[in-house]
Symmetry: C2
Subunit: 206 residues, 2 copies
DNA sequence: TTGCGTATTAATAGACCTATTAAATAGTAT
DNA sequence: ATACTATTTAATAGGTCTATTAATACGCAA
């Protein structure tokens, strides 16, 4: 058995599985291939994780949580509302940048594999409506003070989510403009980050 | 053989294939299942289309073209720039609404099945940069006239694309708010349509 | 060393999938 | 009817996949 790290076999399997699932999706990734990457027998994948589905759930459980809630987390800092929001949008973008292949994977499973999706998101639980309500309160205060226009919290969050997530789901399109240069691609992503923030902040103007 | 329409078998296969591909993705759809839906022998799928890949390409060839270029088509009407743009965003949204499952299917294939993606998009050809350049000219004129802020055409198109497409890729999220009511879901989509237009038009303000 | 639990392997059952082949049937023109 | 073509079917080769089973190697405590 050849291991890439000095990790346990179990960890190696999870790492290989994560990379392959992100690259090729759930359906196109086989336990045999995961084992091949790790350099172990395919039986071990089932020995440690019992089933492919279970492996998937264990690998992405935490990532899914942070993916779902990263936009909703309340920042601790006591900054003016608009600065806090700008930071929040940027943080969300940055989180996506280090998990750039996660959105398409998750949304594809949700759309095409309802069964798996239900099992996965059962653990994640329901949307924390209280947090959205909290943001709504903040927005209402800003509105009363004439700082922003009347704004629906859920709609605002979905707009932020759309712009940020689509940057990475649509990355093949952006790559057409990057001409295979990693530097150009990074520059384009930076532009998108700034543009997404600008678009949202602009939309709040009274 | 049971046919749902008085179409030819070939058409029935294409229709069933389209529905199944959109529902379950390429990898999870089998030619056997397509045949089962049509009510014919699985061999017929290969008789008419030679391979699953070929069937996929034939089924989606036209839809892919319109998906790629719908945002780029130049409207014939001679309206003021801003009205033309508003219409364009709305038209793009409406096109997506009647093909709501197409975006996740296509982006998933592009991300997870480079091979198929290359074959598909070879036919679609390259981005018509000339059209983007044409939009840039219009934007520059508007800017000179002080009607809008300095705006990059490609960035603007990507923002519109992001907001509109993500409405449908992210529809499972929106559904959480619709509480299984078709009417509520339609209302939410209408809100998103208006909100996407508002966001983009707002972003152009000088 | 023996014994025992853990880790690993080979072998394989049982499904399902794509694609091909050869044969049967339906349809149509002569 | 006959012959020819188009359509449809059954059978199956050949592949891959998930998961299980039984056997082997390893590590370590007694």
């Amino acid at each position: 058995m050849i291991r890439t790290q000095n990790n346990t076999t179990e960890q190696c399997i999870m790492e290989a599985a994560e990379a392959l699932f992100l690259d090729k999706g759930y359906a196109r990734t086989s336990t045999i291939e995961i084992a091949r990457v790790v350099g172990c027998n395919q039986t071990l994948v089932h020995y440690y994780f019992r089933s492919k589905e279970n492996l998937f759930k264990q690998v992405f459980e935490n990532k899914i949580k942070s993916f779902c809630f990263s936009l909703l987390e309340i920042s601790e800092e006591d900054l003016p509302f608009k600065e806090k929001l700008e930071k929040r949008i940027g943080n969300h973008f940055d989180m996506l940048k280090v998990n750039s292949k996660l959105p398409i994977l998750l949304f594809n499973e949700v759309h095409t594999n309802q069964d798996l999706a239900r099992k996965i998101f059962a653990d994640v639980g329901h949307l924390p409506l209280s947090i959205i309500a909290h943001l709504q309160l903040e927005l209402d205060v800003e509105y009363e003070n004439g700082c922003i226009c009347k704004t629906d919290a859920a709609a605002l969050l979905f707009s932020i989510f759309s712009l940020n997530v689509m940057t990475f789901i649509g990355s093949p399109l952006l790559r057409l403009f990057a001409e295979n240069s990693k530097e150009k691609m990074d520059a384009i992503l930076e532009q998108r980050r700034a543009e997404n923030i600008r678009l949202i902040m602009n939309s709040l103007n009274p």
